[in-house]
Symmetry: C2
Subunit: 275 residues, 2 copies
Amino acid sequence: MLGDLVLTHDMIVEGVHFLPGDPPADIAWKLAAVNLSDLAAKGAAPLGMLLGYSLGSGAWNGAFIEGLRQAIDAFGTPLLGGDTVAVPHHAPRSFGLTAIGRAPAGGAPNRSGARAGDALFVTGTIGDAGLGLELARAGEDGTAPVRAYRRPVPLLAEGRALAPQVHAMMDVSDGLLIDALRMAEASGLSVTIDLARVPRSEAARAFAGDDRAARLAAATAGDDHALLFAASEAAVAASGVAAARVGGFAAGQGLGLMDDGGEIPLPGRLGYLHA
Amino acid sequence: MLGDLVLTHDMIVEGVHFLPGDPPADIAWKLAAVNLSDLAAKGAAPLGMLLGYSLGSGAWNGAFIEGLRQAIDAFGTPLLGGDTVAVPHHAPRSFGLTAIGRAPAGGAPNRSGARAGDALFVTGTIGDAGLGLELARAGEDGTAPVRAYRRPVPLLAEGRALAPQVHAMMDVSDGLLIDALRMAEASGLSVTIDLARVPRSEAARAFAGDDRAARLAAATAGDDHALLFAASEAAVAASGVAAARVGGFAAGQGLGLMDDGGEIPLPGRLGYLHA
């Protein structure tokens, strides 16, 4: 935050955040989208982006620029400038993007404002991107989950409509369970999630089924960029945004998990942990 | 430019912009300084920085952070956020920094506003950093030129005082001759530079002498981050900033070089060309 500006900067590195064979247009799109998703979670209106670019081959550069142009058009956010560097031959390449947005008039929500008694909501679906990563690794292409993984859509309009109504908000980047726990910890509360209420796409259910294992896999997968927020039912109704109530906050600490009407043990891994 | 904001983003890559053996604190300082120098050339007041950081060893990270802290203190510009990534073992590391500043009330100068009849001025000295790079490569350390190369100081106060008075301004990052030619080309003019008037430090003259070869080396060396601007003598006097008049603009195009009262041929290389 800088006055009424919201600023975000994410980097991606070849071999870590993307693979050398990934389509360059998708890499560009995703780099823009993940930064704009951070703005969405702040209810911010995007103003522009700056790119730090490692040069590749001519064809690779052209495809990357085309993907970036598509993102610029889709999200209405201009590229304002940046820097281009050459990297040593065969070195992994890295890209950075800074996105700048204008915070909502009432201020940007953060992850620490949840209150005891708030419900926990999700806008968007959970688990598609994680499934898409698995499918992409297996050579599947062109399916809806792979598209969700490679071409995430930042929920900018939803974030702006929700921001004045919520007590806390963030985007689900590392997994629903771990991100909900982070919100609870930042707010000094406990959180309970009902696995049966976690919104999953029809495509994800068709590919991975809908048993508890599939639901747990979805709730611990990263890269979804859905919005996760703490609010009352009435406040969400006032926002006009469709959202699934997946749990709630109470005094205490920690994460509780429910399924089929009873408490279940936590999985060993709550989400994706970045370096 | 974004409203009254000035934004800049520069990346540096190991093996290209710095060497694995360079002191990490100096790398951090320089990364901040070169971005803030871009703001200085716009007459902007720095508001904050975002860092994109590739993790190294614990000791390396600690030293880098210490250098960044020194820059934050020296330039009064807070770190607002950023991103940290792990890179594959033995991969060259890269860093990006975004600096945000507030433009002066009358607007930020650019490089295209020079007018025929304007004088060309330099604030700061020319050639120290290029000489410092040579000395550092030869194993010299702790000399003033090496310090100028590793710890450049953005001329923020000078830039702010000059901005309302100049017709065009930029920082000398690739070499005086090439950057002056770029200003002339952007302004649709020709520029003449008198080599004898180019300001050089006492240390640089002591190390490299003051003959024409030394002066040409200084005028074609990069990384100085002096300010180069087009203005009238009276305007510069009004700014209160000490500056050397090194040449002037006229109708036409191209760069003319003078020394000892006569025109001399241009060197084969006018400056440092980045990728």
